[in-house]
Amino acid sequence: MALEFACGQSNTYISLFVFHNYRIKYGHYELEGRWKMSENVKEEMKKLKEEMASLKDQLKELRHEEHGHRRGLYVDIGGPVRDYVDDVMQSVAEGVQGELNKSIFIGPGGTRIVTRTRQPFREPEEPVDLAQVAGVMSALGHEHRLRILNELITGGKYINELQEKLSEITTSTLSSHLNVLEEAGLVVQEKMRGRYLITMPGRTAYEMATKIASFIKQGEQQ
């Protein structure tokens, strides 16, 4: 005798064979019944497992969207609201970019990062060595030396290359200017190749000097 159970929405059937005959010699029927039952259940289990896996995936995706960047992806907030949010996001992005620009420089040669710890302003623990400041400013205080720095910004140069650019001064005068810049730490000379290189402070000092001059010029025009 066989009993069939219909399993709701999934329209699957589980067949069970029940034998009222207690005689063992009909065991092959029982065996056949068990085999059928086993195959059907296995098939059903497989389908359920697949369905479960699919549901789990969907659940995972939903959770990811909830916690991740895709939150609200399916919500269309409409024209004016969207524009407003875009404006806000744009201003936030500009602010972040402004902050990042203080620490990250991106140039054509690749990405250069200068990390600077952002700290609140406080009085320097050690007094500024004004004599040193005067020394740096003094080193900058000559047109030829500023021109040398300007030439070195594009890359290291040998003295003869600098001489070509500053042909109106003698080699000894040029050497003298280079010594002044080197002593102030604005230029460094390679001992082996002999090239002169502008240092990081040298570049900063040169850029600051030119900016100050530019501000003064703008002030005069106004």
Partner: protein, 194 residues
């Protein structure tokens, strides 16, 4: 790591002429005439020397960046004994003559330097042997060893305050002021603690 067994010679030599021990576009190590030397032997052949007297180290530990150069040239007079292990053919044996027996002070210092260099697990034991790099060790003011390992276009220098590693398009400089990493035009500059 391959272990190589060295032993320090017991004959003090002196150079007959000025010698260049290493030179590249980044730096050089030179010794003057009459510089004392004692050989570092391996399998009966000199495979290095400890020099004492008149030497000079130059190393341009400078990294060029778009924001300006970082680092400085190192120029050091080598008056205290320093060690070189590497190419056995350089300098040639004929560059030396026997110095005489009155150089006990130098020999003692050379033995101290030898012991300090070869004790412990030193990388240079294997690296110079496998890649034919030179290894220089200079005692600095704090009593520790500064190491210079030039190998072709590659240079590794570890000083008391500076670490400088350079290859053709790559360079790393660590100084109290900056840490600079440069590779194929990409540069990271981190400000040090000063």
């Amino acid at each position: 790591m391959m272990r190589i067994h060295y032993e320090l010679g017991n004959t003090v030599l002196k150079t007959n002429e000025s010698l260049n021990l290493w030179k590249s576009d980044r730096g050089s190590v030179d010794i003057g005439k009459d510089t004392l030397a004692v050989a570092i032997m391996r399998k009966g052949r000199p495979e290095g020397y400890i020099f004492g007297g008149n030497g000079k180290l130059i190393l341009d530990a400078i990294v060029e960046t778009d924001q300006g150069a970082v680092g400085r040239p190192i120029e050091q007079q080598l008056t205290e004994p320093f060690l070189m292990v590497g190419k056995p053919e350089n300098p040639e044996t004929r560059s030396f003559s026997t110095a005489g027996a009155e150089q006990k002070d130098f020999l003692t210092k050379a033995q101290d330097l030898y012991q300090e260099f070869f004790r412990g697990e030193h990388l240079h034991r294997s690296c110079h042997h496998r890649h034919e790099a030179l290894v220089f060790a200079f005692k600095n003011d704090s009593g520790k060893l500064d190491l210079l390992i030039p190998n072709g276009s590659k240079i590794v220098y570890r000083g008391s305050h500076i670490v400088f590693i350079s290859d053709e398009n790559k360079a790393i400089l660590k100084s109290p002021e900056h840490i600079v990493v440069s590779k194929h035009g990409r540069i990271i500059v981190m400000k040090g603690r000063g």
